[in-house]
């Protein structure tokens, strides 16, 4: 039984959030009042861009592709 595979595109998202939010938070940036704004905007905007990307990829893979050679070979 194979486990469901996560989209590979989650790797850059996880790394981006790790570098821009998690690492500064671990280093004490949470003491800065502006950090909450930065974290909310980073998670919100990157999450929205990721969802749009995943939706576009899903839509693209749902559209049946017709290659040039197979299209020409059809009657």
């Amino acid at each position: 039984v194979s486990r469901p595979r996560l989209p590979l595109v989650l790797v850059p998202w996880a790394v981006y959030v790790g570098v821009t939010v998690v690492a500064p938070a671990v280093n004490g940036a949470t003491r800065d009042p502006a950090f909450a704004d930065h974290a909310v905007i980073t998670l919100g905007v990157s999450g929205a861009v990721l969802l749009l990307w995943l939706a576009a990829m899903r839509r693209r893979s749902a559209v049946p592709r017709v290659s040039g050679s197979s299209a020409r070979s059809r009657p």
């Binding site: 590979l8 595109v9 790797v11 850059p12 998202w13 790394v15 981006y16 790790g18 570098v19 821009t20 690492a23 704004d37 930065h38 905007i41 980073t42 905007v45 990157s46 861009v49 990721l50 990307w53």
Partner: protein, 180 residues
């Protein structure tokens, strides 16, 4: 735990180790670097942003690149080093499982470094060119103050470029595999 650890080939673990070690070293350097020490990434970025936006920037020693016309400063915090780290680590961690052999893995690490640097200069120049316009217009939108809008624009541009870089690199590896 042992079984899941063995699910990762030693070559992939080595690539992850090199990527994370380089990221840690770059982050440590960046935390202490002034504008002069970051010229290797600031100068090409500002030149490209200058060309794209038409706004002139002048070098201010120890401070960064300043546009006197719009009072916009490209400081060390705007160098894009966090994006450079994210791009390099993403490519190494995400694409290592597609590599076979030490040679391919070494090429992945070297190629990721070059691609991450080029993508950083391009993404950051785009971000600065747009941010200068936003700054000059004093744009704000509802709860998005000019500072928040600047931050949101930066995340959207950087993360969009990161996804595009990752997708292009994945395709390049797939195409190379298909022709091999």
């Amino acid at each position: 735990v042992r079984r899941s650890f063995h699910a990762f080939p030693p070559g992939d673990v080595a690539v992850a180790g090199v990527a994370l070690g380089a990221a840690w070293a770059l982050k440590a350097f960046y935390s202490l670097a002034d504008a002069g020490a970051l010229q290797w990434i600031l100068a090409p970025t500002v030149r490209l942003a200058q060309w794209a936006s038409g706004v002139a920037f002048a070098w201010e020693p120890h401070v960064g690149w300043m546009s006197r016309e719009t009072l916009f400063l490209v400081a060390p915090a705007c160098a894009g080093v966090n994006f450079l780290i994210a791009a390099f680590v993403s490519l190494c961690l995400g694409l290592a499982p597609a590599c076979r052999g030490t040679g391919e893995r070494a090429a992945l690490v070297a190629g990721s470094a070059v691609a991450a640097y080029a993508a950083t200069v391009l993404a950051n120049a785009t971000r600065i060119a747009l941010a200068v316009r936003l700054h000059a217009a004093g744009a704000a939108w509802g709860p998005l103050s000019p500072e928040r809008l600047h931050c949101a624009l930066g995340v959207a541009v950087y993360f969009g470029f990161l996804l595009a870089l990752f997708a292009l690199s994945s395709r390049a590896i797939e195409a190379r595999r298909a022709t091999a």
